[in-house]
């Protein structure tokens, strides 16, 4: 087992993970929160890293799965949050989303899995087989999710004009 120092792992992989996280969740505070969650998971799993895969691939896999779980968990409680925020005025995060991140809005129409697959396949140019391995799902499922995600985005882009 390779002797790994967490700080070195962070330094090696932070940019790649930050790029993924920044394309996957939008308010800046949430990106930072997710980034912390990813590296907490990496820290927890670091002792079990046997060096069978490349370190960056291993960290990326953790990042992909932590991001998916993070958004799924957030969506699960969204209706409760909406109930309270409907009574309040728009917060800082909403303003930030409107001004700075309009390009990402169509992606929000996708479910967490479709969004991740589309980002990995079309934005990060990863192979279908690699995505299937990262997400631990059959190639056919990745392909169908990707095709559905592309259709939705095409429609959304048409709406924007």
């Amino acid at each position: 087992m390779p002797n790994l120092v967490f700080e070195n792992v962070y330094a090696e992989c932070k940019d790649k993970v930050w790029a993924l996280v920044s394309r996957y969740v939008y308010p800046h505070s949430e990106r930072e929160d997710l980034m912390q969650e990813v590296f907490l998971a990496v820290h927890k799993a670091l002792e079990g890293f046997r060096g069978e895969a490349e370190l960056s691939t291993w960290v990326y896999k953790i990042a992909v799965n932590t991001s998916l779980n993070y958004v799924k968990k957030k969506n699960r409680y969204q209706w409760v949050l909406n109930m309270f925020t409907n009574f309040a005025s728009p917060g800082h995060e909403e303003v930030e989303m409107r001004e700075d991140l309009a390009d990402f809005k169509p992606l929000q129409q996708l479910n967490p899995q479709q969004r991740m697959i589309l980002i990995l396949a079309d934005v990060e140019d990863r192979q279908i087989g690699e995505i299937a391995e990262l997400l631990k799902m059959p190639v056919g499922t990745v392909k169908s999710n990707l095709s559905r995600a592309r259709e939705i985005i095409k429609k959304e882009v048409m709406k924007i004009g």
């Binding site: 967490f6 940019d15 930050w18 930072e32 907490l40 390009d103 592309r150 882009v157």
Partner: protein, 91 residues
């Protein structure tokens, strides 16, 4: 009008915010926090266990005596029932 390919191109070239230099410090802080939480929980369980043993030893009867009392009560109940059933069959 923007088509799909142009939209993906926009996403690819979208500037990514600079990463906060203090983020590693924050992560390390949370790692330490979790470690201390685990230690605190372990310590609490240990204190509860030790105090539980201490007070159990201080009790007026031991575990064996407690079992003997239970057995005595159980036997007494059986005896009572047999007396009652004997009475019922006799009458």
């Amino acid at each position: 009008m923007v088509n799909y390919e142009q939209y993906i191109g926009k996403l690819k070239s979208h500037a990514i915010d600079p990463l906060d230099e203090k983020l590693l410090g924050k992560i390390n802080g949370r790692v330490m926090e979790r470690k201390y939480q685990k230690l605190a929980a372990g310590g609490l369980v240990l204190i509860m266990l030790v105090s539980g043993i201490y007070y159990f030893q201080k009790m007026p009867f031991s575990a064996n005596q407690g079992l003997n009392v239970a057995e005595y009560v159980f036997q007494a109940k059986i005896a009572d029932n047999s007396v009652i059933s004997e009475y019922v069959f006799a009458n």
